[in-house]
């Protein structure tokens, strides 16, 4: 069942079970998201209380770049291909659209995570740009010190956490929302656009 995200040991256990590095971060990581975008975070529980998956998201950006962002989404292996990810993505898009009135939803995904890329494409996302290199420390972004770096967790770092060095080439994928009826937030040749990590938020 779709529930709002509550902090619980279950969440951490889940992280442990599924080698999910995101869920093993410090208390601050969760609390940061929940104290700002509780409605963009949710968990899926099995009928008898087992946690099956979760999504954590946020809203950010200026003017026409105002959008919802999927920071992390995971479904436990034993519950995959049962449309759980789809349901959670639907909710996140709905809230980004109706509540936050964002122009689009975006996310970072490792370029070799073909399952996820295919899934997102199936849901209407397309590559907006590729991020060139990533040195593991985005300490000081262009706007001065990034708040989330206090937890060692920029959204980009979440996407890449715990992976091999060579895999650290993320794609930035986007899907326009109703407010962007002209589809200005996406482009066809995204895979050819390469930017450096400092240029993405």
């Amino acid at each position: 069942m779709l529930l709002y995200f509550v902090l619980s040991s279950e969440t951490w256990i889940f992280g442990q079970k599924h080698l999910d590095h995101v869920l093993q971060y410090n208390i601050g990581f969760y609390l940061h998201y929940l104290s700002r975008w509780p409605d963009l975070c949710c968990v899926q529980e099995a009928p008898r209380g087992r946690m099956m998956g979760y999504v954590i998201g946020k809203a950010e950006g200026q003017a026409a770049e105002w959008h919802g962002h999927v920071t992390a989404i995971t479904v436990a292996p034993e519950y995959r291909r049962l449309s759980l990810a789809r349901k959670m993505m639907n909710l996140l898009e709905l809230v980004s659209n109706d509540i936050y009135r964002g122009f689009f939803v975006d996310l970072f995904v490792r370029c070799n995570n073909l399952v996820a890329i295919e899934m997102y494409e199936g849901m209407g996302y397309s590559v907006y740009r590729r991020v060139k290199e990533y040195y593991g420390n985005l300490g000081v972004g262009k706007g001065g010190r990034d708040e989330e770096d206090a937890f060692g967790m920029s959204a980009l770092a979440v996407c890449l956490s715990g992976r091999q060095e060579t895999e650290k080439v993320p794609l930035d994928m986007r899907k326009p929302l109703s407010r962007d009826s002209a589809r200005r937030s996406v482009r066809n040749n995204g895979r050819d656009i390469i930017v450096s990590a400092h240029d993405v938020s």
Partner: protein, 931 residues
Amino acid sequence: MSAALDRQIRPIYDALDTGSNKSAIVACNKLLKKHPKNALVQALKALALVRSQKVEEALALCDEVLESKPADDSTLNAMMHVLRGLGRHKDMVTMYEAAYKKQPANEELGAQTFFANVRASNWKSAQLLASKMYKQFQEERYLYWSVISSVLQAKDPNTSTEMRTLLYKLALRLITSAPSPSSIRSDRFHLHLTILRELAEYDEAFALLDTPAGQGICETNLACNEIRRDIMRLKGALEEEGKRAEQRILEKNDRNWLEFLSVVDGTFSPLLQNSAVDGVKEQCASKVSNTMALFTKISVEDGKKDRSGLLGLLELEDRSRKHDSTRLLTLLKHYYELFGDKACCFEDLKPYSDLEDQELASWSEILNTSPSSLSSVESVRRVINSHKLLRYNLSRSELTVEAECSRAELYIKQYQEGLLLGKDLPSTELQPVDDLAILAGSVFVNVWKMTGDIKFLYKAAVLLEFALAKSRQAFQMRLMLIRIYRLLGAPAVASDHYHLLRIKQVQNDTLSHFILSRCSTFSLAASGDLTFSSECLEASQIYISNSQETSDFVIRAFSAEKYSQIPEFIKFEDWLENSLQRDITKLEYLRMRVAHEAISSEIIDLELIELKFIFDRLHHDNRDFEILPNYQPRVVEDFNTQTLLFGKSEGHGWVWSLLKTYITAFSQASDLDDVVEEKLLVGDRPQVSDAAKRGTLKERLAERDEEELSELTTDELSLVSYADALAAWLEPFHDYVRPPASVVLAEAAKQTELKTGMPLRGVDTTPPNGSVKKEEDTPPITDAPEALQKFFENMKARFEVARKTTSPVEALHVATLTQEAFLLFVVETLRFKTASVVKIHKLGNLVTKFKPIRAVAVTVLRDMAAALEGISAQEGTSEKRREFIELSGLESLEFDHDFIMNIGKKVTDSRKKVQEGIAKGMSKLCSTYEQ
């Protein structure tokens, strides 16, 4: 502040930011020479002192700054950090309140004062202050702050029921007085609904929900929607809710399981209300068939894509079972056919498959005849699911040793065959056949439980190690192995596995019980090996970060107006703060500490204060036991219970029992009474639970409750009774000798002044006049209760029995508890070691009565140590390794000799180390405290 001074202060901040507390202190001292009364510099110095753990000096400075009633932002901010570091939230409130009073137009200062109250959980003051701020600054946010403060006060466990209602009423009055409707923000709306629900004003809540704004919010906000569901249920509008859910499922393709549940609830709602009335049954039956049609339609449409429809049918059937019994079987079968190749199938079906008799036979038939091919990942999953589902329903008569062993054999065979499927998987992936090994391991553990034959634990260990080597990330196998190795008396091997789990963050609270539960049994602290003590400290880090970090986020949630999160954060903070595991760990640490460090009045005093705090807590049990896989039949104990060390799980009762024992012993041995303690306390006193207020400390310590004691092993129970007898005997003499509070305080003040050069706050240091010796006579000297010597003699006998059992841990348990009894004796008699004390108080006769007890204790301990050494000499040898291989009986082509040998070596080496180390520690303690 002058620009020059400003320039000189900046480097202090830099030093603090980079953690160079020493240079910060030097810089402060330099500035203080020129500006001795500058509050900001003093505050910064206090901060640097706190951060370098120089609490006493920091306290003195901190008091001085507070007295000057600082009002500028920088000083206040620095002081906020100082006071947080010292745990003095109350002082923080006073400080901000005074500053705000001086500048009532300063809105930011008002907010800071409010937050200070939040940190101190002063909800009432917070509420009043927020109301005041609302009137003054006309910001609606402050009105909501006052509303939620009221709600939080109502939620406080220490608030009475009548008060609670009044507080919710107040909150409601406040929230309805807001100029704009709460529905302009979902979190405000959520708060409004919470209040109405608490006040059972369901109709009013419904009216709010029924507005377009309300409906809109529930559409997108899961938290609000959940309250909405709740309110509908409380209001008894199940039918209406069911209709709504049906619409969502059909029109919006909603597949949220909660909607399906609503439909089922709605279906049976007429029965709930008035099942006696004629026609209700028929009405219900027709509704059931409607719902069935709906769910069937959905399940056909969704196929394998989504299991909600079919699960809904099962739930519907489960609730209406009285009416039809073959349908359930059909559904189970259908579900198994459709989703049997998904790993979640067993957990999904378990709640519906408690079957008996003919039904069970048919169900088993279905499972038994399902294809047993292992040719693809899907078919392996199906086989595993059928094993799990069959095993779940096994009856006692089917659980013979023989039958279980042949099951294990089958599982192992299929495991090995199926391994081929995953041979090309990268090492980071789980093997599809993992659960077959887990099943076989569970069977072996069950047989061990049935027969007491340790060879079955060896088998389980070998098999699971083998499977783990093929599937490095199979953490469930690791957890099973941790349990098994502890039962085998090989804690080091268990710890290795635990470390490989890479436990992080909150898992330290929920999972550390796997190695810390009764770990003093395995601790070599007495012989100088602090492995387990450091393990305890490490696991406890999380509680420190919780107390430092979580409240910051509560404040942030206030600023961001995320009211729905505030009670959750507070609950989370509270659960960690008052975690049961936290204090189980603390007790284990303490038991090891007294074995390791020289027992002194300093240690006793320090520990006593902390234990008394713990004794006032209302504990919350966050330990996760569910994480252990359990595929045991429902007629026997689950895997967790089967593999508990000594067959007992320690819970609240265990903690209370040991706490009482230690607090009693320590408070007798200590000079600190409540008056002294109050004066010497640094931070605020933690909140005291209701239970703690029921009686005086003494009364509470004396209460020994059956239920509490039932969590102890028989040997632990003996220890507790022994300690009670010892304490009861010595109490009058301790009370007689203990110096009066004034003397103790004067001494403490003298020590502080020597250290910091400043007097102790609020303590009169003039030595009390007249003689220190008490007026009354020495209490009559009584004989030692027989129980004391008897205890040691009984433990000796117990040890002889224990070492002959097959369990490698029982003897350790008896030995370490006997050692603990001896150490408690040392604690209780410490005061009477000083010759002058004995002389002044004429206690010579008492002291001679200690001798025979001490002598018996030492003799018994030395005997045990010698015996343990003897046992340990046989461990770690090649014979033992060979024995392990033979007993495990798994050697074959796949499980090669060296692989098994290596496990055997680890086990027996670890055992040897523990037995040897404990023996050594015991001998050492005997020599230390023999006299």
